[in-house]
């Protein structure tokens, strides 16, 4: 599917925001200034100020002269990123893939989203109208590539919607600055007489690279769609998240426990109201010295029980290093599931509450010893003893085939089999005695052989002749001998298990 991107340019981001807050500023020239070597320089202004001739980089005193009545505000660093992040979250209503594009734009991956508003034109109109209703002046551009969308949003006179495959035509009349190039390069291009992209777009790649550097070629080809460019989406907000900010930083275990319990309780109440249960959660704590830490839990079944989830976190409280104090906790429900269908799947014939109890037990155990150490075994259609039981960590899975009953298998299995010194009087017969760990066992009676071949479609190897052997004292062993039917082969013996 061809990609479609929208670039939104907030032309007067900071001043628009200020005008939303203070309605009186709408009809006045407004500018933001920043300190630079002891002078106040204009770094952003609104349309009225622009019409008066105020430009970025102008001294604040000059701006006051040419635009009488101009309102000057000091700009805090990083304010534009904060605003853009907020707007990016707002834009999640259009597409889940939104990226902040500093200093004054947003990028949206709208592939497959535009039909929801009735087409691409309507989609762009909707964005413009709704943001205008909020108070922002924007220019959007839509194209197949990020670069092209960015270019038309900022530089095109018309044709903000570039049809699929139309990047080259759309870029031709635009100035070189549309390619997201550095200021020095733009000046250099202008000095050389390249006023439009179209005047150098046809030059060979090698020439462009030699004259203007690799970055320029990359930007041009990204805009044309011949080089890949990716969008890094904003962190998707977790739908179920609770946070608590503390007036005083806390340090002691008791207070941390009380706070976390209250936090979990809040989340559980929300989940309960919506019929959801928690499958995994992340607790982040923010310390006053700016550091943070995380605890993660997972459950075996959707749970909304505060006590249970708290217990899982409590097992990990030893890892919390409060330092000078913790000032905030954030609890994110990383994964939720509908909790209505109680664990009927867990082994039929048992009341539901019990199964839930078992799932909670396994959560606790898994949190302490690790989930990988909890096993269940399901029958597998394999003869080879080591493969007859398939390991699963899924607690709801049911066997696909019945457990074989026709073969007698030892209760204790040695893995791997251990070599023994055995003596058989006749070939193809059970040994008469064997020595294992310096102990001699005289075999009185034996069953066998049961020949089990290697499953050649899985692994190479010979067969094993298994014998059930009972010694004088009544101990029963599972012994096997390796193949001996080829010339030069001698049979080696192994003990593989103990029978009850």
């Amino acid at each position: 599917m061809p990609k479609r991107f929208v670039s939104i340019w907030f032309r007067y981001l900071l001043t628009d925001r200020e005008a939303i807050r203070l309605k009186s500023l709408r009809e006045l020239p407004v500018a933001f200034t920043e300190q630079d070597h002891g002078r106040m320089l204009v770094m952003a202004m609104n349309g009225h100020a622009e019409n008066c001739g105020v430009k970025p980089g102008m001294a604040a005193a000059d701006a006051r002269v040419i635009a009488p009545g101009i309102q000057l505000f000091e700009c805090k660093a990083g304010r534009n990123i904060k605003l853009l992040t907020g707007l990016a979250e707002w834009c999640l209503r259009y597409t889940p893939l939104v990226m902040v594009d500093p200093p004054d734009g947003l990028l949206l991956d709208v592939t497959g989203c535009t039909h929801l508003k009735g087409g691409e034109t309507e989609f762009l109109k909707d964005i413009v109208n709704r943001l205008r209703a909020l108070g922002y002046t924007i220019r959007p551009g839509m194209a197949d590539t990020i670069g092209c969308a960015w270019a038309v949003a900022r530089c095109a006179e018309s044709g903000l919607l570039v049809p699929p495959g139309g990047q080259r035509n759309a870029l031709m009349p635009l100035p070189p600055a549309a390619l997201r190039l550095g200021v020095e390069l733009v000046i250099k291009l202008r000095e050389l007489g390249f006023y439009q992209v179209g005047s150098f777009i046809h030059l060979p790649k090698s020439v462009l690279k030699r004259r203007f550097g690799g970055n320029m070629v990359l930007r041009l080809y990204q805009a044309l769609g011949q080089e890949a460019e990716f969008l890094l989406p904003l962190k998707e907000p977790v739908p179920y998240s609770e946070r608590v900010s503390l007036l005083e930083p806390i340090r002691t275990r008791e207070v941390i426990e009380t706070t976390v319990y209250a936090l979990i309780d809040q989340l559980c109440k929300r989940l309960y109201a919506e019929g959801l249960g928690l499958r995994s959660a992340i607790l982040t704590y923010l310390r006053i010295d700016g550091k943070s830490g995380q605890l993660t839990i997972g459950t075996n079944h959707p749970s909304q029980r505060t006590d249970h989830i708290f217990k899982l976190f409590a097992l990990q409280f030893d890892q919390v290093a409060p330092g000078l104090g913790i000032e905030a906790f954030i609890l994110d429900a990383a994964k939720t599931e509908p909790a209505s269908d109680k664990q009927n799947l867990l082994w039929n014939g048992k009341p539901t509450a019990d199964s839930e109890e078992i799932a909670e037990l396994l959560d606790n155990v898994g949190a302490r010893v690790g989930k990988d150490h909890i096993h269940r075994y399901l029958p597998q259609e394999h003869h080879w003893p080591e493969r007859a039981a398939g390991n699963t960590t899924d607690l709801t899975q049911t066997p696909e085939s019945a457990w074989p009953e026709d073969r007698i298998r030892p209760v204790q299995l040695l893995e791997p089999p251990e070599p023994i010194e055995a003596m058989a009087l006749t070939p193809d017969y059970a040994p008469r005695q064997f020595v294992y760990r310096h102990e001699r066992h005289i075999i009185v009676t034996a069953d066998g052989p049961e020949r089990i071949s290697h499953e050649w479609w899985l692994e190479d190897g010979g067969y094993r002749d298994y014998y059930v052997a009972e010694d004088e004292e009544g101990m029963r062993y599972w012994l096997f001998g390796t193949p001996n039917d080829l010339p030069g082969q001698t049979r080696r013996w192994f003990i593989h298990g103990y029978f009850p």
């Binding site: 155990v365 269940r376 457990w403 074989p404 009953e405 030892p410 204790q412 004292e473 029963r476």
Partner: protein
């Protein structure tokens, strides 16, 4: 005469109460489960195998461990009849799940928890014993102190789960709070009629210690998915006059 009769009644009643306080509650007949252990069940108070209690099995050799595994699986079969799951906790496990089918236990109904550190075994066991939805907990461990066994016993008194402690490689026996202490050793099997080779599993089951019961030693065989006592004459009757605390 009447005095002595009332005294006797009082003493009987006190004995029954004492049993109850120690955790042996006589179950109504419809709730009683027979484990097919026959005379062994008579060695216990109320003539029934105590569920919701802690049983300790002593093993000194891997052969004995296998026999104990079979014996426990045979008991588990009855415990699992009512549904539920078993938890098998160990840190060096050699049990081969498919073999349990021979003892009537579906191996997929057992949850094996293989901990890495030995000291986690008892922690996991205690957590599992607190969970009343579980039919039985089997714990393979080497060490079990009196204190630890009491913790497990306290957990059981709340939940009424049956616990089996399989103690491997025991060098020295110590006092524990377990209800019963067993050993199971394999015995020479009797050949099946008209068949050569190894017969049905046969064990010498010894009850070394049992609270308020009579210790004893019995020969037991596993045949056709049930315990079987071979001929009566081979069974060593427990010494009724000796009482162990």
């Amino acid at each position: 005469m009447t005095m002595s009769a009332t005294k006797q009644e009082l003493i009987d009643k006190l004995r029954r109460d004492l049993l109850g306080w120690e955790g042996f509650r006589p179950l109504p007949p419809e709730e009683r489960q027979s484990f097919g252990l026959g005379p062994i069940e008579n060695a216990f108070p109320n003539q029934m195998f105590p569920t919701g209690a802690l049983h300790e099995f002593i093993s000194t050799r891997p052969e004995f461990t296998a026999a104990i595994g079979g014996f426990i699986a045979g008991i588990m079969q009855t415990l699992l009849e009512k549904g539920g799951v078993c938890v098998w906790v160990s840190y060096t496990r050699r049990i081969y799940p498919p073999a349990l089918k021979r003892f009537g236990v579906d191996p997929d109904r057992i949850i094996f928890i293989d901990v890495v550190r030995e000291k986690d075994v008892l922690w996991v066991t205690e957590e599992a014993l607190k969970c009343s939805g579980i039919a039985a907990v089997i714990c393979e461990t080497r060490l079990l102190s009196l204190l630890e066994s009491r913790r497990l016993q306290l957990a059981i008194e709340q939940s009424q789960v049956t616990g089996f402690i399989l103690r491997k490689d025991v060098r020295q026996l110590n006092n524990t709070a377990c209800t019963a202490r067993w050993t199971v050793k394999p015995l020479r099997s009797k050949p099946r009629p008209g068949m050569p080779g190894v017969g049905h599993p046969r064990w010498q089951v010894e009850l070394l210690k049992v609270r308020n019961g009579q210790p004893g030693s019995w020969t037991l065989e596993w045949k056709n998915n049930a315990f079987l006592h071979p001929q009566k004459d081979q069974v060593q009757q427990p010494d009724i006059n000796r009482r162990y605390a």
